[in-house]
């Protein structure tokens, strides 16, 4: 009986501790050398385990945001934190380690055509110098998770667009990264396939991965009822939990 209160309190404490700020933008501005102001004083926080859409028209600053998160470019002003670490000050040699904590998928899949699906996924582990035993164990696991167990020996060009995107997803999560960035993941896919991919992203999110999806697919955003951050002309014009794709953006 003495422990009753404490036992009840434990899950609460854990939940509070898990509220890690996975991604934090602190007054970020980005001005390109040609004078284009891509991001203008943007601040927001994404917690661990969130599923977030970032929406906006072309030129709204979406792509710049993604490039900042992957540290392809540096902000002109402001601070950017990933897993509570400031990455704006990261040395060049530490970038690979950062990228291993962020899985990425692209609109155009970016699989290596000369490798089988298995090897494409295994490749992500090989660059981290993972032991062969881990590769043999993890790759079939994620491939079955994305529903490609029967196509591991095929080449990307032999697969449909949806299947290729599944393979790309498998590659992105095989390292168990805490963050998954998806850049227009359904941009090249028909609506039915798009939904399958979104369902997979939700599954991945349920496993604890923080998922950030950049898109301008109105239908999907409206139906998913997730957090939506709307960018317009480099500013955050709306940030709504269980939101929709705004009209004016």
């Amino acid at each position: 009986m003495i422990y009753g209160g404490a036992l009840l309190g434990v899950p609460l404490i854990i939940i509070v501790l898990l509220e890690v700020q996975m991604i934090k933008l602190d007054h970020i501005s980005k001005v390109y050398p040609n004078g284009v102001k891509a991001l203008d004083d943007v601040s927001f926080t994404i917690e661990k385990g969130e599923f977030v859409f970032i929406v906006g028209n072309s030129g709204s600053g979406k792509s710049t945001m993604l490039k900042l998160l992957m540290k392809e470019i540096n902000p002109t002003k402001g601070h950017l934190y990933i897993e509570d670490k400031e990455i704006t000050k990261l040395r060049r040699g530490k970038i690979p380690k950062l990228r291993r904590s962020i899985g990425v998928v692209f609109q155009d899949f970016r699989l290596l055509d000369k490798m089988t699906i298995f090897n494409n996924v295994a490749f992500a582990l090989k660059v981290t110098e993972a032991p062969a035993s881990k590769i043999r164990r993890n790759v079939p696991m994620v491939l079955s998770l994305v529903g490609l167990s029967k196509k591991t020996k095929m080449y990307p060009t032999q697969l449909s667009g949806g299947e290729q995107q599944r393979a790309a997803l498998a590659r992105a999560i095989v390292n168990n990264p805490p963050i998954l960035l998806a850049d227009e993941p359904t941009g090249n896919l028909d609506p039915k396939t798009s939904w399958e991919i979104m369902k997979l992203l939700v599954d991945i999110n349920l496993r604890g991965t923080t998922v950030v999806v950049v898109t301008h697919d109105k239908e999907i955003v409206n139906a998913m009822k997730k957090r939506v951050i709307t960018l317009s002309h480099g500013k955050v014009v709306r940030d709504i939990l269980r939101g929709e794709y705004g009209h004016e953006s």
Binding site: M70, L98, R99, V104, R110, K114, F123, V127, N175
Partner: protein
Amino acid sequence: MKARTIFYLIGEGIANLFKNRLMSMAAVTTITACIFVISVFYIVGNNVEYILDTVETNLGITVFFEYDTTEERILEIKQLLEVRNEVHEVTYISAEDAWETFKVSYFEGKEDQLSGFEGDNPLEDSASLVVFFEDLDTQKSLASYVESLPDVRYIRQSEQVVDIMQSINQLVRYSSLALVVILVIISIFLISNTVRLGISTRRQEIEIMKYIGARDSFIRGPFIIEGILIGLIGTAIPLVIIYFLYDQATVSIAGQFDLLKNFLVFRDITTIYRFLVPIAAAIGILIGLVGSRLTIGRYLKA
């Protein structure tokens, strides 16, 4: 970097070599051509130097003495000369030797005419010393020294031959050096061009590797292995070809210049290769490495 990664990168490098067959072949051909020319020049230069060395020691000055110089005095001078560093060898040719040689070469076939000379040596005062040198460069100074010695009547030397030999020697040395430098620059340029042509598929690969968190060394690894391998293959091909052609070539050259048969002494190919193989391998690997480094460096930075 872990051992298995190194093995993986080597494997990738070898695999890339075959995957980009056309580019690899172009690069190997370029290096092959370059190393072939470098090797031929090295071998020619080496042999010319070797032949000159042999000729140098065969080209002596002949020293003649005053009419009443005794044999003892001549042998004394011989000893005096022999202790000098620049002297390779001194041969004494007595008056009798001189007459015997002269008889054979001059009266060959006309032996009947010799009867009048019986018991008489017309070359009585022609005893001489032939001095051979270690190096042609010292001939002139030594000649003037010998000339200043007492009892020396006059000396005969082959100054013109010496001058020509020396200038040939220098010409070969400088022209081959210049050619090698030009060739290396041309091949690096050609290789980086061929690599650039084949890189469009690689660019995508490099980009993906960067996104999934590959270190620069991991991305560069296979390219470096590939560069080294291309360099090594490009070096091995011409060296093997030359190895098997060398004997034939030297024989046919010696046949072409029958007159110079005694001068044309060629060096053994294994002796030449002792120096040439490491030099050629170093140049080949260097070209392969620089060529591939130049190209990937640009894509890594982007």
